[in-house]
């Protein structure tokens, strides 16, 4: 159980773009947890569903390349983005379902000395940090690492669609609890779970450029519901959700016509706080919605 975990790490595009605090906090938290990250710095964008919408084979081949780069390291793969998880799982499902199609896709990679191989049971996997934390690292081991329990901190989970649906594609047959892992992690870190309507709903991000009002109404409604349920913050394993819930929060507030102002933490940031990291080290100052209230809750008597 205490074996070291080493993974091929795909950080995704957004964690190195508009949410740099996610990339930084993941590196810090991995070090604290003793998870070794071998970064796939030559891998490409997962397509976020948009490339698959344009040309399915293109999306499948691009992700087969990423999988093959990971397989070259001899390690299973970890991502830190619900959208990467969902988009990549979709491509992997098609690649794994049909050997002739897989061979056809691999033909495009052969010139690069790459090939994606379907893994047998218990073989190569691609897991979001959330899944890895619960299934491979283990909640008991996580609890042992907690030096600053988040007691008194009321946390609303926000999953991101791509990591909870469709169930049939995302391994729920083998891991039926994947849609309650955030609750389990919040509890393991000593925080309080806030139940509200939006936890498994859509942040609206995919249509922010096409249907702005639909998009921001979704984000604003969920943030508002979490506030009404007494949340101090939200936590999400998806940086795209973070863009709509945090970066767009002031705009969402205008659409739903109410005051918002709720901190939205990336999953590694929440874990990092419990492991004793300082908010500044975790990049929490980079957020648009202030995280000061979260910091106050943790340093005030409530957290003791």
């Amino acid at each position: 159980m205490a074996e070291n975990i080493k993974v091929a790490y795909w950080p995704g595009c957004v964690s190195r773009g508009f949410t740099p605090e996610l990339h930084g906090s993941m590196a810090l938290v991995a070090q604290k947890l003793g998870i070794e990250l071998v970064e796939l710095d030559r891998a490409n964008c997962c397509g976020a569903g948009v490339i698959a919408e344009h040309n399915q084979e293109l999306a499948d081949t691009l992700n087969a390349r990423t999988f093959a780069l990971a397989q070259q390291t001899g390690l299973s793969m970890m991502n830190i983005c619900s959208t990467c998880q969902g988009a990549q799982s979709e491509c992997q499902q098609r690649l794994d379902a049909d050997s002739a199609y897989r061979a056809h896709v691999n033909e495009a990679l052969s010139g690069q000395g790459l090939s994606y191989e379907k893994a047998g049971d218990g073989g190569w996997t691609n897991k979001n940090f959330l899944w890895l934390l619960v299934e491979d690292y283990g909640l008991d081991r996580l609890k042992e690492q907690v030096v600053r329990p988040l007691s008194g901190l009321r946390v609303g989970p926000f999953y991101g669609c791509y990591i909870v649906r469709p169930k049939e594609r995302l391994g729920y047959a083998e891991h039926p609890d994947r849609d309650i892992y955030l609750e389990k992690v919040i509890e393991a870190l000593g925080g309080q779970i806030v139940e509200y309507d939006g936890a498994r709903k859509c942040c609206g991000f995919p249509v922010i450029t096409m249907s702005r009002e639909t998009s921001l109404r979704q984000a604003g409604t969920h943030v508002g519901d979490a506030i009404d349920a007494g949340a101090d913050c939200l936590v999400t394993p998806c940086p795209l959700c973070h863009l709509n819930l945090d970066m767009q929060q002031p705009e969402a507030a205008k659409v739903v016509n109410r005051d918002l102002g709720l901190a939205v933490l990336h999953l590694p940031q929440l874990v990092g706080l419990a492991l004793g990291a300082e908010p500044k080290e975790l990049g929490m100052g980079k957020h648009i919605a202030s995280t000061r209230w979260v910091e106050e809750r943790l340093t005030s008597g409530v957290a003791a």
């Binding site: 595009c13 508009f18 740099p20 605090e21 490409n44 964008c45 397509g47 976020a48 948009v50 919408e53 344009h54 040309n55 084979e57 293109l58 081949t61 969902g86 499902q93 794994d96 379902a97 049909d98 050997s99 002739a100 199609y101 056809h104 495009a108 010139g111 690069q112 047998g120 009321r154 669609c161 791509y162 649906r165 469709p166 169930k167 609890d177 309650i180 609750e183 509890e187 309080q192 779970i193 139940e195 309507d197 709903k201 859509c202 609206g204 249509v207 096409m210 249907s211 009002e213 639909t214 979704q218 409604t221 009404d228 349920a229 007494g230 767009q248 002031p250 100052g285 957020h287 648009i288």
Partner: protein, 429 residues
């Protein structure tokens, strides 16, 4: 046989009262359906409990409802499985009967008011957050008196995104059927009708078999998260139906249909890609996948929609071809104002959207989120070291453009010979 508690959201318009929760005790085999449980309650306890049903075998599509927050058919959901789901959500959220006056379902309305342990009291004491009282249904229904250590009740609600007529019966006309009619759900062939039937190649119809499987139950409409935010969204059922005709080789108005669906601000580009309809559909229609096919066809048709849907798609695809990873600022610029021979071509909406994004950028610069040139200036983003490999993938995929539809093809068994003997792929383009 096993005992279950089913908690039903009830509403009788003639009473003049709002909706309320009522719990029934039923006793049936775990392999029987939630609908069977409801019919037993209606039979033994309250004959006025209204539920629409007919075939009880997932064929007629009458008994759409929400079970523990999940839209689907009452007759296709085993009550034993529904119980497991209810227990799981109760255990996860930790709300016990003693803390909440009525136990919690995944997305049951009263769930919004439940805060774990003492969180609720603290929230009130600290005064830092104000809580809104008086939601649609108050959580203090006296008919429900769950005792500690009991299994969680199975939460049953009428379908969402449509008006409730009585108890579990919703008005399918005002939303579902109106939207279905909106997409002209019949064949529009040109020219003289043939003397006998239309003759088409069987292969040319394979692509639309998935959308033809729809039984009009409305479960996808009930689950649609875009429609929750925008009730005018044409929605998953109607758009899947639209694809059924767009993909039909006998139809002669494909382009007109695509223009209509792409240019409507509540059309194909209003789908937020949340997969809810895929999980809700009892027949594997996967409406969202059909919407993505409509977008692809609209792109192939060269439709420049005013929603920037096509521009966004093309911008995304081209950026990855050029850079390998996403250049977010370039995506924004190109989505609204695609460059053409070095000149930007923004329309009025694009200019408004771009001006609207200035405060977001300023906030991002202030916090340090976007404090670098490559994040702010479109096109400065670096490319991958072996970007030529990515470009080679583009060339290969654009040549073939294969679509592997697992609904049609199915998954091969693990012991299948990798000799490519499977049926040919549906080729698109």
């Amino acid at each position: 046989m096993a005992e279950y508690k089913i908690k039903v959201r009830r509403f009788q318009p003639e009473s003049g009262e709002g909706p309320y929760w009522e719990q029934f005790d039923v006793d049936l085999d775990p392999s029987l359906s939630v609908l069977d449980g409801l019919l037993q309650a209606k039979d033994k306890e309250d004959g006025s409990l209204a539920v629409r049903c007919s075939c009880r075998a997932a064929i007629c599509g009458s008994c759409g409802m929400k079970i523990n927050g999940q839209s689907g058919l009452g007759c296709k959901t085993q009550i034993g499985e529904a119980q497991e789901q209810a227990n799981k959500m109760k255990a996860a959220t930790g709300v016990t009967a003693a803390e909440a006056s009525s136990p919690i379902g995944a997305q049951a309305p009263e769930a919004q008011d439940a805060v774990r342990a003492t969180g609720q009291e603290e929230a009130e004491q600290s005064g830092s957050r104000t809580r809104e009282a008086g939601r649609e249904i108050s959580g203090d229904d006296e008919r429900v008196r769950p005792e500690a250590e009991e299994a969680a009740p199975i939460i049953i609600e009428p379908m969402g995104n449509m008006p409730v007529i009585k108890d579990l019966i919703t008005d399918m006309e005002s939303t579902h059927w109106t939207k279905i009619r909106r997409v002209t759900p019949w064949l529009l062939p040109h020219g003289e009708a043939p003397e006998r039937e239309y003759v088409v190649e069987p292969e040319s119809m394979i692509d639309i078999t998935q959308s033809m499987a729809c039984i009009q139950c409305g479960a996808c409409v009930s689950s649609c998260l875009s429609m929750e935010a925008d009730p005018d969204f044409i929605g998953p059922a109607a758009l899947a139906k639209a694809y059924r005709f767009v993909g039909d080789p006998r139809d002669a108005e494909t382009a007109e249909r695509l223009h209509d669906l792409a240019e409507d601000p509540h059309g194909i580009y209003d789908c937020t890609h949340c997969f809810s309809c895929i999980d809700a559909c009892p027949k594997g229609v996967a409406p969202m996948d059909q919407i993505m096919r409509l977008r692809r066809k609209a792109g192939e048709e060269g439709i420049e929609d005013p929603n920037s849907g096509h521009d966004h798609e093309i911008a995304f695809v081209k950026i990855i071809e050029k850079k390998g990873t996403l250049d977010e600022s370039l995506l924004l610029q190109e989505s609204f104002a695609p460059g053409f021979k070095g000149k930007l071509k923004p329309n009025r909406r694009a200019i408004r959207e771009m001006i609207g994004s200035i405060p977001i950028a300023i906030r991002g610069i202030k916090t340090g989120k976007m404090r670098s040139l490559r994040k702010l200036i479109p096109g400065v983003h670096h490319k991958l070291p072996d970007q030529d490999d990515v470009k080679a993938i583009y060339r290969h995929a654009e040549e073939h453009n294969e679509e592997l539809n697992l609904y049609i093809r199915g998954e091969e068994s693990d012991d299948a010979q990798p000799d490519g003997a499977a049926a040919e792929e549906v080729t698109n383009g």
